[in-house]
């Protein structure tokens, strides 16, 4: 209950401070073009929002940890290799890629290109248009959907075909090793990645739309490779159906 007159509330007396040094400058404040009506107080609204997430995440972890125990295998033995020996799930996609090409290409060049792409992304696509909107536009959403579907099909086909008719084996003796290990896999992957870009380019797509296609191909391919390496690879890192793994191997025990 405050019945101080308005001007006293704005210019309170006796605070020892009545001026501020201000300067005019060009540029936007975070509040440019926005009325105060469209805002809410951070305290307590945002705080409650954050506490809710904190409680939700902690509770979910709590209950999951009650029912699912972290695995502990036999003590490490450098003499006895486990079969299969798999990298943790977030690197098992790379391990899957290693099966299909030269290890330097799969383990260093491709991840290097991906990290460079991520770092360069905001400097390649710098138009501020449609920032803060999911998929930017309806068209962007369609592009994301179709490229995701396309990448899942293309990468699955690549993995399955190369596994059935290994390029390495087919070209053995017929061509130098670098053709099967470097050239062909690079060309196939470049084709998979650049095909949607070429299609969009011809349709006059914006930089943002091309980035949506590239990022989606990257993400969807990573998901396919990870699922393949995690679920479909058994002893000897050979390909099996997850429910037909030999020797009682259960990929889920590798978490």
């Amino acid at each position: 209950m405050n019945d101080a007159p308005m001007n006293e509330e704005i210019f309170p007396k006796g605070t020892g401070k009545s001026y501020a040094l201000v300067e005019m400058m060009r540029g936007e404040s975070p509040m440019v073009g926005k009325g105060p009506e469209k805002t809410v107080f951070s305290f307590p609204v945002v705080l409650l929002w954050e506490i809710l997430i904190l409680l939700g995440v902690t509770l979910a972890l709590f209950f999951f940890s009650l029912v699912k125990q972290a695995p502990l295998d036999a003590i490490a033995n450098p003499q006895v290799t486990t079969d299969p020996a798999k990298a943790p799930w977030y690197f098992v996609g790379l391990q899957e890629l290693l099966e299909h090409m030269h290890p330097t290409l799969a383990g260093i060049v491709i991840p290097g290109i991906l990290v460079l792409f991520l770092v360069a992304l905001p400097y390649l696509d710098y138009s501020r248009e449609h920032a803060g909107v999911w998929f930017s536009t309806r068209r962007g959403k369609r592009i994301a959907g179709w490229t995701a579907l396309y990448a899942v099909v293309a990468m699955t086909a690549f993995i399955v075909l190369d596994n059935a008719f290994s390029m390495r084996e087919l070209l053995r003796g017929a061509a130098p090793a670098w053709v099967a290990q470097w050239l062909l896999p690079s060309l196939i992957l470049a084709l998979i990645v650049l095909l949607p870009v070429a299609v969009l380019w011809r349709k006059g797509a914006s930089v943002r739309e091309i980035m949506i296609a590239l990022f989606t191909v990257m993400l969807a391919s990573a998901v396919v490779l990870t699922i393949s390496g995690f679920l479909f690879r058994g002893p000897g890192f050979e390909m099996y159906l997850p429910w037909q793994m030999p020797d009682g191997y259960n990929p889920w025990n590798d978490f």
Binding site: P30, A70, K86
Partner: protein
């Protein structure tokens, strides 16, 4: 206003005033000071656009990553009281944590599931930021910080994976480190720097341990702080920049 004498004495005391630099929030000045001298407002503006709070914009993923990081620090410190990073003792101390330390197995479960969860949540957060176009100016640099955070998160998870020193961890790290060895020219050297030798052994364990409990978590808090501060300095979430017509 009507406070009892002892209470006033307390709130006027040197100690109290060193903590709370303002008086009771019963006048406009102290009311605003109560808010602005609060640490909460070090990270948050006083008011935020209702758009940035829409659940389907962020899905809360950035906050979830922050929460998971905190859970990992908390449970990780508890595990450190028992774990010994030596080839002879690492595995036995893991067994001890699971079998005889009160709530040991549970603490280890929390730590492991939070670690897997954090990798997943950070990847999802990156996807959400990408698809909402929130990396565009003026947020380019915060995106780059984010990419480093992703790499640090993967590194923290990977180094932690070795610590139980069981077959699962030993061979997973061997496979992972071999990938680093495939780099042209520098590969074998990089692998040796990572492992502290030619194969996974005691020198690897102490390296991974130090990275896992000191260097990577410290780099993570530092960069998470800069990341969150930048969110505010870049004008809040990108959803704020969308004109209301859209």
């Amino acid at each position: 206003m009507a406070q009892s004498k002892p209470l006033t004495r307390l709130t006027d005391s040197r100690v109290w005033r060193s903590v709370f630099r303002h008086g009771w929030p019963d006048n406009p000045l102290d009311r605003s000071l109560t808010m602005t001298s609060n640490i909460f407002f070090h990270l948050h503006p006083v008011k935020v656009s209702h758009k940035s709070l829409r659940w389907t914009y962020t899905f809360g993923l950035g906050i979830m990553a922050t929460v998971l990081y905190s859970v990992l620090v908390f449970t990780g410190i508890l595990l450190m009281f028992y774990y010994v990073p030596s080839v002879e003792r690492a595995y036995p101390t893991m067994k001890e944590i699971q079998l005889s330390v009160p709530l040991g197995q549970f603490t280890r479960n929390m730590h492991r599931w939070a670690a897997h969860g954090m990798v997943l949540v950070v990847i999802l957060h990156m996807a959400r930021v990408f698809y909402t176009g929130a990396y565009k100016p003026p947020r380019e640099f915060n995106w780059v910080i984010g990419v480093v955070l992703l790499l640090l998160t993967l590194g923290a998870s990977f180094t932690g994976y070795l610590l139980p020193w069981d077959q699962l961890s030993y061979w997973a790290i061997t496979v992972g480190a071999n990938i680093a060895g495939y780099a042209p020219v520098a590969g074998p050297v990089m692998r040796e720097i990572l492992l502290g030798g030619t194969e996974v052994g005691q020198d690897t364990l102490i390296r991974f341990y130090t990275l896992h409990i000191a260097l990577l978590p410290l780099s993570l808090v530092l960069l998470i702080s800069v990341h969150l501060w930048r969110v505010r300095k870049d004008g809040g979430l990108a959803a704020n920049d969308v004109p209301d017509a859209e």
